[in-house]
């Protein structure tokens, strides 16, 4: 990345003890992948809070290093730009997630509630708290302003039915990172039949999100 980072050897970030040490470049690359996937996916993807935390630590280190650089050094402005760019990607990633959480709030909470024990969580603890508060706030509001003034049998609204779900059949562009064989493509209309495709590494496709959703989670494809 830049020599601002290599000034201090301890800048290399460590994830949890279970994961390998990542270089800063790898970390930022992971952030960008998560960001692009989240931007182009119609539904909320798994949370990547370890990446978020590491990037924030990284930014703090970079800011601290920048303070130590000699004033007026032209490198300083370039490092500054780097910091701003990374912060932009991080903020954009978090904003994108928050927007989806707000847009699909009952469904997001439902998904989180019904996931299996071993499954990775959809929401970070902070996002989960935010989603619950958003739900409660909206429900309280609707009750107070109108629902409680309606006839007795109409004083509740089923949020899961009232709020639209994300459209998983939207088409997305993707690039294949790991070769896939025998991907089943469901028919869209009654006249079509299902068929099977092989996807070569490096190839790019336009497909329905639903077909390749598991490949996004596993990292086998990258949305573009």
């Amino acid at each position: 990345m830049s020599d601002v980072l290599s000034d201090d050897g301890s800048d290399i970030n460590h994830d949890d003890s279970q994961e390998d040490v990542m270089t800063p470049a790898e970390l930022i690359s992971k952030l960008e992948e998560a960001w692009l996937n989240e931007k182009f996916s119609p539904e909320l993807l798994e949370n990547k809070s370890e990446v978020v935390e590491c990037v924030m630590e990284q930014l703090t280190h970079m800011e601290a290093n920048l303070q130590r650089v000699k004033k007026g050094d032209t490198k300083a402005s370039i490092h500054r730009m780097e910091i701003d760019r990374i912060r932009f990607v991080l903020s954009s990633y978090l904003r994108c997630r928050l927007q989806k959480i707000e847009k699909f709030f009952p469904h997001v909470l439902e998904r989180e509630k019904s996931r299996g024990e071993g499954d990775p969580s959809l929401l970070s603890p902070e996002e989960f708290a935010f989603a619950k508060e958003y739900y409660a706030n909206t429900e309280t509001y609707l009750k107070a302003v109108a629902l409680k003034r309606m006839p007795p049998n109409l004083q509740t609204v089923d949020m899961l039915k009232a709020v639209p779900e994300p459209c998983l059949d939207s088409f997305v562009f993707l690039r294949v990172k790991e070769r896939q064989e025998n991907i089943l493509v469901e028919p869209e209309t009654d006249d079509q039949r299902e068929y099977v495709v092989d996807m070569d590494e490096g190839s790019q496709h336009l497909m329905r999100f639903r077909t390749i959703a598991p490949l996004v989670s596993s990292g086998a494809v990258q949305l573009i």
């Binding site: 978020v52 903020s91 978090l94 935010f130 909206t138 509001y141 109108a146």
Partner: protein, 196 residues
């Protein structure tokens, strides 16, 4: 015709397709709620009569009124929810203090919702990165240039930039400064980004 007032509420919002928030239509809402009350009471009467006297001919009207009640509920909740989405957008555009002319268009419950939303968002942002916090309502656009042209809106005294130069920020003076140094002052309203 039933449900007309409810549709009018929806149309009111549809007319303002740019996301603006019209004044809260307290009157319109009240009329819809009154219609719902009347429909419900008529249905109660008819249902009792149908049961007591075996008046099966009343059933179609009961069903019709029930459909109208559901439609009214749906239209009202759509109206209220769409307004919430517009109000939510205001937090992201204007920040946590709403301009008074917008607040004037909100009913008390909407102000309450906004206040709660602000709090939730703030505590979410504070908790990011293990308590370090990150204001994600900033950095809305990718950083493009290193230096920007700014105009000073109020007297702010001396201001030192990285290479040691000291700038005097006097009202209405214009400067070409590094972007990161100005962000804070732009947010505070001391400087204004001049885009030519």
């Amino acid at each position: 015709m039933f449900c007309e007032k409810a549709i009018e509420l929806i149309r009111e919002l549809q007319r303002m397709s740019d996301g603006q928030l019209p004044a809260f239509n307290e009157d319109g809402l009240r009329q819809v709620l009154q219609e719902m009350e009347a429909l419900y009471e008529q249905n109660q009467t008819d249902v009792n009569e149908a049961k007591a006297d075996g008046r099966a001919d009343l059933i179609p009207s009961i069903k019709l009124r029930h459909c109208c009640l559901l439609r009214n509920q749906r239209c009202v909740t759509a109206y209220l929810y769409d307004r919430l989405l517009r109000i939510r957008a205001l937090r992201w555009e204007y920040g946590s203090v709403l301009p008074p002319n917008v607040r004037f268009h909100m009913c008390a419950e909407e102000v309450q919702w906004f206040s709660q939303y602000k709090k939730s968002l703030a505590s979410f942002m504070r908790s990011l990165g293990g308590g370090e916090g990150l204001d994600i309502t900033q950095d809305m656009k990718p950083p493009k240039s290193l230096y920007i042209e700014v105009r000073c809106l109020k007297d702010h005294g001396e201001f030192e930039i990285d290479d040691g130069t000291v700038i005097l920020l006097k009202k209405n003076s214009q400067h070409f400064l590094p972007r990161w140094k100005c962000e804070q002052l732009i947010r505070q309203g001391v400087l204004e980004h001049v885009m030519s």
